[in-house]
C-alpha cells in the first residue's frame, strides 16, 4: 500500500487518460468542453506532482521517487498542456489522439524514474507506442509514411535494447540498474559480454534521445507528424530520455565512468554539430526545428556527463525552458499551417499576422539563446556548469554551436520581417484558434518572464535538489 501511495501522481495520470477517453466519447462534439476538461485535468496533474514533490522512496523496487523525477513531471505536464491544447484545435484530428498524448505522458513520467530494466522497457514502449499512433493518426499518406518510419526504426532500436537487457539478465540474473554496477565491481564476470550488453542498451537509448548517429528518423517524423505531435516528441519525449540517461549513467555505470564519459563527449559534440549544421541547410521550418531539437539534445548531454545536484537542476531548468520555447514554436507552426512548412510560407508574416510573427520571433530568439529571454538563462546555467566541471572544450564547442544556430533561427525572422509575402493565391487566411492562442500565450509569457526573473524558479529547483 505504501508503494501505491508513492506513485499517486502516476496513478492520477493513468486515471486521467482513461477519464479523458471515456468522457471525451460523450462530449467529443464539443471540443471546447474537452479543452476545459484537459486544461483542468493537466493542471491537476501539475498540482498533484507539486504536492508529491518531497515524497521520496522506492516503489516496487522499480521506480525511484525523488524531487528530480517530480520536477520532470512538471515539465511533462507543461509539454502535455501545450501540445494537447494545440491538438484540440486541429479539427481534422480525432479527439482520441489526446488519450495517446496522456498515455505518452504517463510513459514519460515512468521513464524518468525507473531504476529497473523491465520498467524501463515498459515505460519506453508506453511512450513510444503512443507516439507511433499519434504520428499517423490523421491517416493521410504523409502521416502514415512518417508513422511507419518512426515505428520501424523505433522497433529496431527497441530490439537492440531488449537484446542488451536479455544479455544483462543472463550475466547478472537481475534487472536492476544497480546490478550492473556491482557486476562491474565484482571479479569473474565476462567483461566483454557486459560491454556488449551495455552497448546494445546504449544504442537503444541514444536512438530515443535522437543523438547522432541515430538521429535520422527525427526530421522525417517531424515533417509528417501534426505540429502538436512533433512538438510533443521534441519536448516531453526528449526530456524523459535525458532523465533516463542520467539515472542510467549515475546508477548503472558509476564505477567505470571513463569509458562512457569519452563516448558521451563525442556523442554530445557530434550531436550539437551535426544538428546545427544540418539545420543550416533546411528550407522546411518543421525539419529545421527537428535538427534544432537534435542540437539541443547535444547540449543536454553535458549535464548528464557531469552528474550531481547542479546538473540535475540544470536538466530540469533546461528541459522546462526548452519545452516552453519549442512548444511555443510548434504552436505557431500549427497556426501558419501544418502543410505549409516551407520557409517561403513565412515570408511577410509580420505584415499579415504581426502578433504571430512577433511571438515566433520571441521563441526563436530564445532558442538561439539571446538574452534576456529564458533560453539564455538555461544555456548559461548549462555552460557555466560545464566550465565549472572542467568540460571547457565541450562548453566552447557548445557556445560556438550557439552562434551557428543563431543563423538558422534568425533566417526565419528574416523571412517574416524582411521579405514581402509571395503571391500564394490559395494561401488561407491565418487565424489562431482559441486553445492554440492560449498555448502560445502561456509559452510566450513564461519565456519572457523566466528570462527576466529566473530567480524564483531556480531557487525552487535548487532548493529541492
Amino acid at each position: 500500500m505504501t508503494d501505491l501511495y508513492l506513485v499517486v501522481p502516476e496513478l492520477y495520470a493513468a486515471g486521467f487518460a482513461l477519464v479523458y477517453l471515456l468522457i471525451g466519447l460523450l462530449i467529443k462534439r464539443w471540443r471546447w468542453l474537452i479543452g476545459i476538461l484537459t486544461l483542468a485535468g493537466l493542471a491537476g496533474l501539475f498540482c498533484v506532482s507539486l504536492a508529491y514533490m518531497t515524497v521520496s522512496g522506492i516503489a516496487f523496487g522499480m521506480l525511484v521517487l525523488s524531487p528530480f523525477g517530480r520536477l520532470l513531471d512538471l515539465v511533462f505536464a507543461v509539454a502535455a498542456i501545450i501540445s494537447l491544447l494545440i491538438y484540440l484545435d486541429m479539427k481534422d484530428l480525432p479527439y482520441e489522439g489526446g488519450f495517446f498524448l496522456l498515455a505518452g505522458t504517463l510513459g514519460a513520467m515512468l521513464l524518468a524514474k525507473c531504476v529497473d530494466f523491465v520498467m524501463l522497457f515498459l515505460a519506453l514502449e508506453t511512450l513510444s507506442f503512443s507516439l507511433y499512433a499519434l504520428v499517423s493518426l490523421r491517416g493521410t499518406r504523409r502521416d502514415a509514411e512518417a508513422g511507419i518510419k518512426y515505428f520501424v526504426l523505433g522497433a529496431f532500436s527497441s530490439a537492440f535494447l531488449l537484446m542488451g537487457i536479455a544479455l544483462l539478465y543472463a550475466l547478472t540474473g537481475s534487472f536492476a540498474f544497480s546490478a550492473v554496477a556491482s557486476a562491474f565491481a565484482a571479479p569473474g564476470y565476462n567483461i566483454g559480454l557486459l560491454i556488449a550488453a551495455l552497448s546494445f542498451i546504449g544504442i537503444g537509448l541514444l536512438f530515443k534521445a535522437s543523438a547522432v548517429p541515430f538521429h535520422f528518423w527525427t526530421p522525417d517524423v517531424f515533417e509528417g507528424a501534426a505540429a502538436p505531435v512533433a512538438g510533443y516528441i521534441a519536448t516531453a519525449s526528449k526530456v524523459a530520455a535525458f532523465g533516463l540517461l542520467l539515472s542510467v549513467f549515475t546508477i548503472a555505470f558509476p564505477t567505470n565512468p571513463d569509458l562512457w564519459w569519452g563516448l558521451l563527449w563525442y556523442a554530445s559534440a557530434l550531436t550539437m554539430f551535426v544538428g546545427n549544421t544540418a539545420a543550416l541547410l533546411e528550407k522546411s521550418v518543421k525539419r529545421m526545428l527537428a535538427y534544432s531539437a537534435i542540437a539541443h539534445a547535444g547540449y543536454l548531454f553535458i549535464p548528464v556527463m557531469i552528474g550531481g545536484p547542479w546538473s540535475t537542476s540544470t536538466i530540469v531548468l533546461y528541459g522546462l525552458v526548452y519545452t516552453l520555447m519549442t512548444g511555443g514554436a510548434f504552436a505557431v507552426i500549427a497556426v501558419v499551417g501544418d502543410e505549409r512548412t516551407s520557409i517561403n510560407s513565412y515570408k511577410g508574416l509580420a505584415k499579415s499576422r504581426p502578433l504571430t510573427a512577433f511571438l515566433l520571433t520571441l521563441f526563436l530568439l530564445s532558442l538561439a539563446g539571446i538574452p534576456p529571454l529564458a533560453g539564455f538563462i538555461a544555456k548559461f546555467y548549462l555552460f557555466a556548469d560545464a566550465f565549472r566541471s572542467g568540460l571547457t572544450s565541450l562548453a566552447i564547442i557548445g557556445l560556438i554551436n550557439g552562434v551557428i544556430s543563431a543563423y538558422y533561427y534568425l533566417r526565419v525572422v528574416v523571412y517574416m520581417y524582411m521579405m514581402e509575402p509571395e503571391g500564394e493565391p490559395e494561401a488561407p487566411r491565418l487565424r489562431a484558434r482559441f486553445w492554440t492562442a492560449i498555448a502560445i500565450a502561456l509559452a510566450a509569457a513564461a519565456t519572457v518572464y523566466l528570462g527576466f526573473f529566473p530567480g524564483p524558479l531556480v531557487d525552487f529547483i535548487r532548493g529541492l535538489l
Binding site: 509580420a350 539571446i370 539564455f376 548559461f380 566550465f387 560556438i400 534568425l410 520581417y417 530567480g455 531556480v458
Partner: protein
Amino acid sequence: MELLTAVILLPLAATVPVFFLPEKARRTLWTYAIVVSGIELLLSLGLLWWFDLGRAADFQFHGQAYWLPGINSSFHVGIDGMSLLLILLTTFLTFLGFLSSTRYIETKRKEYIISMLVMEAAMVGVFSALDALLFFVFWEAMLVPMYFLIGIWGHENKLYAAFKFILYTMAGSVLLLSAIIWLYIQFGTFDLIALTQATRGLPISAQEILFLAMTLAFAIKVPLFPFHTWLPHAHAEAPTAGSVLLAGVLLKMGVYGLLRFSFPMFPEAAKVFAPWLAVLALIGITYGALMTWVQTDLKRLIAYSSVAHLGFIVLGASSLNQWGLQGAMIQMVNHGLSTGGLFFIAGMLYERRHTRDLSAFGGLAKAVPRLSVLFGIIMLSSVGLPGLNGFVGEFLALVGAFKSNVIWAGVGATGIILAAVYLLTMFQKVVFSKLENEENARMKDLSLREMLVLSPLVLFIIWIGVYPQTFLRYTDPVSANIVQLVNPEIPAQVDETRVVSPETREVSHD
C-alpha cells in the same frame, strides 16, 4: 526606485503601450516615441545633475536587485564619470534619432519604435552594469534590435549586412562569455568591482589569455583592424538612426569594454599587449583613411572614416597614460557627435535625392545653404579642426601616443592629414562643385525639425572644442585610476595631468 534603474527600465517599459497603438496612427506613434525618448533624456540629465563630481571615479547611483540565484549574480548597476558621459550620449542620440526618423521610416513604424527603445535600454544597461554577467546580457540584448533596424529598414544589401553584423558580434561574444564564466569559477563572483580587485593577483599567463579573449570580443565591436569588415556594410546599409546609433554608441561599447574590463582587470597583460593594440590601431587609422578616400558612396565613406577615427581612440587608450586615456574617453563622445551628425546629414540628403552616390550631388552650397553650413561644421569637427571637438580628442590621444612611442604619434598625425584630405575632398564634391544637376537645384533646405536635430550637435561640437574642461573633468579621475592600476610605479604621470584637472582649469591643448 533608483534613478539609474529608472533610466534603464523606462525605454523597456515604454515599449509595451506601442504594441497597442494602431500602426496607422502615424502622428501618435512618433509623438509618443519622441516624448518617451525626451523623458529618458531628461532622466539622464537628472543623473548629470545629481552626479557627485568630487567622486567621479567611484560608482554612483548604485542599484542592486536579486537576479540569478545560486551563482552570485545580481542586477547591480552604477556609473562613474565615463559611463555618465556615454549614457548621456546614448539618450541624446536616441532622442535625435527619433526626431530624424519621422519622415524617413514609412513602414512597420511600431516595430521600429520598439527596436529603438529596446536598443536604448540595452545601451544604457551596458554602460551602467556593474555585474559582468549583466553586462553580457545587455551586450547581447542590443544585437537583436540592431539586427532588425538594419534588416528591415536598411538599404539594398540589408540582409547580408544584418547577418554579418550579428554573426560577427556573436562570435566575439563567445569568447567574452567564456572569459566571464572562467572569472566567475575562479573568484566566485560576477561583481565587477570585486573582480577588478581580484584579477590583479592572477599570474601573468592567465591574465594574458583572459585579456586576449575579452579584448578580441571588444576589438570586433570597436572595430579594430582586421576585425572591421562588418562595419562598412552595417553602417552603410542601416537606416539613418541605425547608423547614428551604430557609429555613435555601439562602437563605443567596444572601447568601453577595453577601458572597463580588459585594462583595469588585467593590467599586466595590458602592458604586454598595448603596443600590439596600438599598432593595429595605427594600421586601422591609415587603412581606414585610404579606404575612405576612394569611396563613392556617402554612407560607406562615413563608415570607413569611423574605422580611422576609432583607431585614434584605441591608440589613445593603448598609450596607457593619462593623456591618451583622456583623449580616448573624450574622443568617444566626439566621434558620437560628429559621425552621428554626418550620418544624420547623409540621411537628410538621401531623403531628398534617394541616392548616396557622391557624384550625384554638387553645388549644394547654393541650393541648400543652411544644410551646407551645418554639414561644414560637422565635417570640420570630424577632420579635427582646432576650436572644434575633434581636435581636443585627437590631440590628447596623440600626446598620449607621443609619450609612449614617438613613431606612433608620427604615424597617427599622418592620419589626421589624411582625414583632412578625404573629408575635404568629399565636402568639395558634395557642397562646392558646380551645380549641374537640376534635382540638386530644386532641393529643399533644412526644415525646422531637421534644424532641431542638427543644431544641438553643432552646439556641443563647438562647446567641447572651445571649453573641453566641462567634459574632461568627468573622465579625469577615471582615467587617472586606470593609469594607476596599470602603471602604479609612475605617480609623476598623474601629477602631470593636473593640466586637465578642475583646479587649474586650463584647456588641455595649450
